[in-house]
Structure formats: structure tokens, C-alpha cells
């Protein structure tokens, strides 16, 4: 009996601490007996860590995905080379490498932009709206609206949160960009596709940074989903976050 009540207060605290309101802290220890005060305080401390971790994880995930999208979108390199010599005059041609020449990289930028915007939006919503229930409702509404607008099966929004879908989108974007990067770096002898990284060195290295950052973002989003699912494990009517 006491365990279940303390667990409820602990999760209330975690949700409120994530939103930055500190009003509920004073209400919790008042109900506990003096013998259980130490364990209650330890629980509070432990759950404060969880709440802080959620915010930190979400900020980190937003940062890494936005950085990946930005670095890849601004990734361009060109060099001029002599192609032929007509008489005594050398003919120069400029070779450019841009991210939008490869559909895989375009998809990568779009997926990372979506993930970054989503994480930032959820961060802002949770920070601005201090009431826990309204914030969860707003995020849930956002999830539903976006999911039904994008024609994904809308009954799935009850079971699978938008965060999971966006994480899967991000994972596919990172995978496809990584396979194109591998092709650009090593080429394919059998298909007579020459590697381009020796000519466009900084394009390749910047693309590599963007892809690594995106993979880190995927791992962070996975941890984020697990943590928020565990924090909401006994409150199934508030799905997602």
C-alpha cells in the first residue's frame, strides 16, 4: 500500500520536474512517517535523476539530429580541373559534389530534420506548459494529428508513439546514407563505379561526420523511448511520453 503510493508520487515528481515546476515537492514528504522519510528522499533523488536524464537525453537527441541535417545540407565541394588541351589553350571544367545529387542524402537530410524538429517541439511544449496533464495531452494530440495526417494507420497512435515511428525513420535514413557513403569511399570494381572520395575529400569527411552524428541520435532516441516508456509503464492511458 505504502509502496504503491510512494511510486505514484515519485512519477508525479518526475513528470513535474521535467516541466520545471517545483510546487509538488513539498506535498510528498508530508504524508510519510518519520521512519520512511529517508527511503522516500532516496526515491525522490533517484527519480529526480531520471527526470533530468529525460530532458538531457531529449536535448542531446535534438542537437545531434539537427547537427546531422545541417552538416549534410551545407555539404558541398567543387574543384576545377583541366579536361582537355585544345591547341595551346587548356579547357577547364568544374566538378561539383552536392548532397542533393544523391537521393539517399536528400532522404537523410529530410529524416534528420523531421526528428530534430519533433524533439525540439516536444522539449518546448513540455517546458512551456507547466501542468503535467495538459502537457501530456498536448503532446498526445500532436502525435495523433501528425500520425493521421501522414496517413499512417491511426489506430497505431494508441499503441506505438510517434517517437518510435520517427526513430525508425531516422534509422532508415542513417542506414541508406551510410551505404551510399561506403559506395562513394570504396567504389564498386565490378560495376565499374569509381570511388569519389579521393577527389572530394572534404565532402566525404563532412558527410561522414553527419552520418555518425545521426547514428548517435538514433541511439539516444532509442534510450529516450525506453526511459519514457518505463516511466509511464503504469499509466497506459497517457501513451508515448
Amino acid at each position: 500500500m505504502l509502496e504503491s503510493s510512494s511510486r505514484l508520487t515519485v512519477t508525479d515528481l518526475s513528470m513535474d520536474l521535467e516541466h520545471g515546476s517545483k510546487t509538488k515537492l513539498s506535498a510528498a514528504p508530508a504524508a510519510a512517517t518519520p521512519a520512511c522519510k529517508c527511503s522516500n528522499r532516496l526515491l525522490q533523488l533517484g527519480d529526480r535523476l531520471v527526470a533530468v536524464q529525460l530532458v538531457v537525453l531529449r536535448t542531446a537527441a535534438a542537437l545531434t539530429t539537427v547537427v546531422a541535417a545541417a552538416v549534410m545540407a551545407l555539404n558541398t565541394q567543387s574543384y576545377t580541373a583541366v579536361v582537355a588541351i585544345i591547341g595551346t589553350k587548356p579547357l577547364m571544367q568544374t566538378f561539383t559534389a552536392k548532397f542533393r545529387y544523391t537521393p539517399a542524402f536528400v532522404y537523410f537530410v529530410i529524416a534528420n530534420a523531421i526528428a530534430g524538429t519533433y524533439n525540439l517541439l516536444v522539449l518546448i511544449i513540455r517546458r512551456l506548459i507547466l501542468q503535467r496533464r495538459t502537457a501530456s495531452l498536448v503532446v498526445h494530440m500532436l502525435d495523433m494529428v501528425i500520425l493521421s495526417c501522414s496517413l499512417i494507420i491511426s489506430f497505431s497512435s494508441l499503441l506505438l508513439s510517434l517517437a518510435q515511428v520517427i526513430m525508425a525513420l531516422l534509422a532508415t535514413g542513417a542506414a541508406t546514407a551510410a551505404s551510399m557513403a561506403e559506395l562513394g569511399k570504396k567504389g564498386n570494381l565490378h560495376a565499374r563505379w569509381n570511388p569519389i572520395c579521393d577527389k572530394f575529400g572534404s565532402f566525404c569527411s563532412r558527410g561522414g561526420i553527419a552520418i555518425v552524428s545521426s547514428f548517435i541520435g538514433v541511439a539516444l532516441m532509442l534510450a529516450l523511448n525506453l526511459l519514457s516508456a518505463a516511466a509511464n509503464a503504469h499509466r497506459p492511458n497517457v501513451v508515448g511520453q
Binding site: Y101, T172, G173, A175, H190, P236
Partner: protein, 162 residues
Amino acid sequence: MAKLSRLITAVLRLAVAGAAAAAAIIMVTSHETTSFFGIEMEAKYSYTPSFIFFVVAFAVGFAYSLLVILVRPGSTASRLVLLSDVVVGMLLAGAVAATGAIADVGKNGNEHAGWLPICPQVRAYCVHVEGALIAGFVSLLIHFLSIMYSLHAVAEPLCCSH
């Protein structure tokens, strides 16, 4: 009721395993040799690391789906299965995405990089890889459906005992 849900889960997982095995086997058996302007051109799945990743990922998906049928629903292992379902789903999605990127370059080429499409030369190989991709997509879709179903079967007891 529990027996029925267990049966449905088993059927879904068997479908995933079947489609994953089909995808891996079709990809492995893709092989074609042709001569192009006197030059011998050989197309095989093992010449592209993305295709090797595809085969390995779907072999893992096949083994995983078969193993998961043995888990009893309602035990703590079933919670772990929900977690690993999502991870394996992401693995399969990544494999399909990577293979799709290479297949797109093979079919349409990339004029900016000077890469010519190879599909006109090795048409049967292209069709084979397309078939493997379709089987991979089907496996991914059914895996997604089985995740939905297991969430639905697990979430209900959670909600009613609240």
C-alpha cells in the same frame, strides 16, 4: 482466449520468418555473368557490402522470429521480447534502406559521380535483387503488424489491472 492470441502470434511470427528466409535466399542466389563489349561482367550479391548486410540482417530476423515463438506470453521474457522486437525491426528496416539505395544507383546511375547504371547489362540480376527487396518489405510489414498485435495483447492486461 490466451490460446487464440498465442496462435495468432505464432502465425504472424512464422510469416515473418518465412518472408525473411525468402528475402535472404533470393538475395544469395542472385548471380549473373555477362559480356559487355568483350569485357566479362559478373554481378553477385557478395560484391556489394550492403547486400551482404541485407542477407545477414534477414537471416538474423528469421532466426529471431523462430526463437520468439517459444516465449510464454505474460512472463518477464515477453516484456524483453517487446523491446528486442523494436530493435530487430529497426535492423531489418536499415537493411532494406541500405539495399534500396544501392539498387537505386544500379538502376538509375548517378551522372554526377560518373556511375553508369548496370541494370541494362545484367537484367536478370536486377530483377532478382528487386524480388529480394520486395520479400524484405513484406517481412518488415508483417513484423510491424506482429509488434502491434503483441502490444495490443500485452497492453490490455496492463490497462485493466490499473
